[in-house]
Structure formats: C-alpha cells, structure tokens
Amino acid sequence: MIGGAQSRIAAAAGLAAVATLIVAPLFLRRYGLYLVSDWAVMTIAAMGLNLTLGYAGQVSLAQGAFVGVGAYSAAILTTHGWPFAAAMALALAVSFAVGWALGYPALRVRHHYLAFVTLAFSTLAFLVFRNEAWLTGGVEGIDGVPRPSLFGWSMRPPLAYAYFCLAALAFVAAAMAWLIRSPWGRSFLALRENPLRAQSLGVDTRRYTLLAFAIGSALGGAAGALYAPLVGLVEPPAFTLALSLNLLMMVIVGGSGYFLGPFLGALIAVMAPEWLRAWENYYLILYAVLVMGLLVVSPTGILGLIDRYALHRAAAEASAARAALKPSIEGP
C-alpha cells in the first residue's frame, strides 16, 4: 500500500469494524447471536489451520478432529464439575501433544505426507469418539455441557456467551499477531517461501514445521472447547472429515497466509446458508460453484484478489506518475 492517506483509511476502517463487532450483538436476537458465536469459534479453528497451511505450508486434514478433541476434553471435564479454565487448559494441552505426536514421524518422511497422516487421524478420531462410549458417551455423545461462569457471572444467556466467544477470538487474534511478528513467525514464513534456503540459513525446518502444526492443532482444540458449551451437545458426527475440509475451504477462500483470511473465510462459510437461502434447495450447489469460480479467478482467495487489485491500482498509479514526469521529445 502506498501513501499515508491509505493507511489512515485502513486504520479507520479497522477501528470501525472492531466497534461494530462490539456493539452489534446488542441488536441481535438469538439466531444472530448464535451465528456470531459460531463465527468466532470457527475463526479460531481456521486461524490455527492458517498457521499450519498459510504460514508453514503444510496441509492438515485433521483440524476438525482437533476441534473434536478439544470439545470432548472440555465436555468430559465440565460435565464432571471442573471449571472451564481447566477444560480449556486440557483442550489446549491434549491437542498440542497429539499434534506434536502426529507430526513428528510424518515430517521425518516427506513434507506433503502430513496430509495423509492427518487424514488417517481424522478417521481414527471419529471412530474413537463413536466407539469408546465409556469415555465419550459413544454414538449419543455428551449432553448438557454447561456454559462457564466468569467471576460469578454466568455465560449461559446467548448474549453473554457471544461476548465470551468474541473476547476469546480477540485474545487469540492478538496472540497470533504477536506470534507472526516474532522471530518464530518469521521462521514460519521462511518455511513457506523457500524451505531449502531456510535450511541453508540454519533454520531447523522440521522443528518449526512441527511447532506450527502443533500450535495450529492446539488452536483447533481451543475452538472445540468453546464449541461444546455453545451447542451443549458433543457428538461424533460433528467432527468428521467434513469439518476438516470445511475449515480448509475457509482458509483458502478467505486467503491462505493472510492474517484476516480465516475471519473472512469463516464468515462466508457460516453465513452462506443464510445469504443463499433464497435459492433454497440449490444453495449448496450455488456455494460450490461460487467457490470454484473464486478459486479459478483468484487461487489466493478473496484477500488475495483484493491485494492483486490494490497492487494493480498502485502499479497503474505509479506508471501514470512516471509518464507525467517523463520529458517529451518536443521541447518546452
């Protein structure tokens, strides 16, 4: 972006957006509040996947399974009376540990084979959720997951829980921003752009890739811990490969590797059934066509498209500026 004016506009727009997010829930009814909460939760999961995919360049097909791991961990603890903080801590810890364990042998082999291992894990997780009834409630799952209380204030009302989810999102977003700007983040970027060169510069590519994947998975778990009280029921069919593919689509459609990509992608995925409701039965077909069309036009997603347009505009302006300064052959 060029020009101080543009940065000021961007900052103002950003501020307006945040203000809207803070104020809007007060005007929404239960359905709208549910959508906002769902969007916040999905964005957290998508941010984790964006870290793995967009920044470290690894394809994970198990993000949905990690959401499930987090959801079940939280559900099991909170239905036995443990506080939400403990549930969240467990969700993060288990997801991180499983992510590390999964990634460690897989990355030893070849980079794009993580996709297959995560595919296998996705199926295995679903089967464990469904079959191990002693732990997970089996086919019926765990019902009646309570919402947390913050300093004696119950989050049970939809409005309160929506703000809780938004606050969690803000926290995760801030943490991600810090991570990307830190030396770790720059190593992640190096991994994506040119792994060989990164390696020659002394970056331990395997360790950083593994770290990105484990952190990404942990964020999936965190999203799960927020999802469980939102719906109140945790059951196996919610965490199949379909969810993982949905999250992958969110990241790509929003713009893989862009900080705001997951926000946009999750918004589109959550709102698409609403916006396309006029087409009733055909909305899934239309959504698929739109996604294909978008990817053909811009494989870097919507933000990639906007970026390209901005660059195009900037380039055109620069050419015009150069042309204006060029001396002409006819004299003054």
């Binding site: 394809v59 042998p105 897989a106 030893r108 082999v109 070849r110 084979y113 297959f116 291992v117 595919l119 296998a120 199926t123 295995l124 089967l127 469904r130 079959n131 060989l196 593919l245 992958l248 689509m249 790509i252 893989s256 039965n281 055909y282 899934l284 077909i285 959504y287 698929a288 066509v289 996604v291 294909m292 990817l295 053909v296 494989p299 870097t300």
Partner: protein
C-alpha cells in the same frame, strides 16, 4: 480356512473396483500434478447419465455409450478446460481445493436434480453366483475384477509400448523439455484426462449394480481410491492395482478378524505404515526432487 478363502475372494473383487478408480486418479497426478478430490463423484456420475438415458427408453448398450460420451465431454474436456487449465500454474493446493468444491457440486446436483434415493442399476452380467473353490462369488464382482485387470493391462501396454503413450509419459516427467522437443504437451495432457473420464465411466457401470446408484457413492469410493493410489505408489499405474486389491482384502480380513467397530481405521493404518516406511508406495519409483 474356507472362511479365509471366501473373504480373500470377496476382498479381491471389491479391491478390483477400487483399483479401477485409483488408476485414473494416479494418471491425472502423473500427467498434470492434479489431485482430484472429486474422483469418487466422477465414478458416481456416469451411472446417472446412463440411468437418465435408460429412463427415456434406451437399451443398456446405448445408455452405456451415452454415459461414456457425456463422461468424456464433461468429466474430461470440460473439467480440464474450465477448472484445471486456469488453475494449474498456481500450484497443487488451490486446484485440489477446487476439486473438493467440484465434488460437492456434483453430489448435490445429482441429489437435487435426480434423486436422494438409491436406484438399482442393471448389469450385463447375470445376478447369480458362481462357485469358486467352494465359495460363492457373484458374477457381477467377477466381471468387475476381469474388466479392471483388462483395463489396466491395456493401459499399461498403451503407455509403454505405443508412441503416444511414451509421449504422454515424457510430457508428464518433464513438460518443459517435452515442449522443446516439439511434443504437443497440452494435447497429451488432455488425452490423460479423457482416458480418466473413460475409466471412471467404465468403473461406474461396473460398480453401480453392486453399490446401487446413489448420490453419496462418491464419498467411500473416493477415499478408497485415494488410499489405494498412495499405498500402491502414486507414480505408477501398476501401483494403483496393487493398492486397490490390497485395500479390498485388508478391509475384509480386518472387519472379520480384527474389529468391526474400527474397520474403517484399518486401511488408514496400513496407509500410514506404508508411507512411513516406503514413502513412494509399495510399487512406486522414487520421484526426482525438483530444486
């Protein structure tokens, strides 16, 4: 012992169908680095073209021809021109995601415009069983096995013995040099897509009598093809056959002897073990590393 033989034979017949689907999958990767997540739906769809033709009174063989023709046009030509060509230069992943959207599109279209119910599908083979080594095998499964083996044999011969086949391989291994040498690379890649379209149409006609034509068939078949291709060796057509047959047998034996509740995990377990210890698959050759 009789049980084991019965399971083995049943597994081989299912495996042959997986192999047929996996072959096209491998072919598209080899020739144009396309990972087609919609391959399962590609197998599901031609059956509905054929059913639509039969509903309008066409006899089986005419419906089959119609199915193959539409498959070539839509799943071969249109797929390549509209989706693959514009996206190929942007790398593997965006195209893979686009094929995911395509699979959803095909599935939902069939569900909405044809039916959400399963439809019976006729088979040229009789619906009775044959006794092999004291075990009953259905003629339809046998037909599938034979057709799959024939198709793969012809394909393998075609790729290695004919000039066009060798040109296709060259274009796949190094498109730039192939182009410099004057090979019509674009057209050769198109041939690969058309070949896949024909293969999936054939697979569709063989699979649908057993699976019944339903819009959701693509899900299991697609994943099976994917696993079979990786396990067998992603850069060898032979690998798809080995992978498919192995997968069918492992699924059956696993469900009978290991666990019924975890039967879906067993093939994936095999997948993980294979790629950890033989990353190029059981039959695959090591790929050149591009720097």
């Amino acid at each position: 012992m009789a049980n084991f033989v019965a399971l083995l034979i049943a597994g081989l017949s299912t495996g042959a169908l997986y192999a047929l689907v996996a072959v096209g999958f491998t072919l598209m990767w080899q020739t144009s680095q396309t990972i087609n997540f919609a391959q399962g739906e590609f197998v599901m769809l031609p059956a509905f073209f054929m059913l639509a033709a039969m509903n309008r009174g066409a006899p089986y063989w005419l419906a089959l021809a119609v199915g193959v023709a539409l498959s070539l046009a839509i799943l071969g030509l249109a797929f390549k021109r509209l989706l693959v060509d514009p996206m190929l230069r942007h790398g593997v992943l965006p195209l893979a995601i686009a094929t995911m959207a395509l699979s959803s599109f095909l599935k939902e279209s069939v569900k909405t415009f044809y039916s959400a119910e399963a439809s019976p599908f006729p088979s040229p083979a009789p619906s009775s069983d044959l006794k092999v080594l004291g075990v009953a095998v259905s003629w339809q499964s046998l037909a599938g096995l034979i057709a799959a083996l024939l198709a793969v044999t012809f394909l393998q011969l075609g790729l290695s013995r004919t000039r066009i086949g060798r040109q296709m391989q060259a274009a796949a291994q190094n498109p730039t040099v192939a182009q410099i040498l004057g090979l019509p690379v674009e057209r050769l890649i198109l041939y690969a897509f058309l070949l896949n379209a024909a293969l999936v149409a054939l697979a569709s006609a063989l699979v649908s009598p057993i699976y019944l034509a339903k819009f959701s068939n693509g899900e299991t078949l697609g994943q099976a093809a994917f696993i079979a291709a990786i396990v067998g060796g992603f850069n060898q057509v032979r690998g798809a056959v080995v992978g498919g047959l192995l997968l069918g047998v492992v699924e059956n034996l696993g469900a009978a002897y290991i666990s019924d509740a975890y039967r879906d995990a067993i093939p994936l377990f095999v997948l993980v073990v294979v790629i950890l210890f033989r990353p190029n698959g059981l039959v695959g050759r090591a790929e050149e590393r591009t720097v």
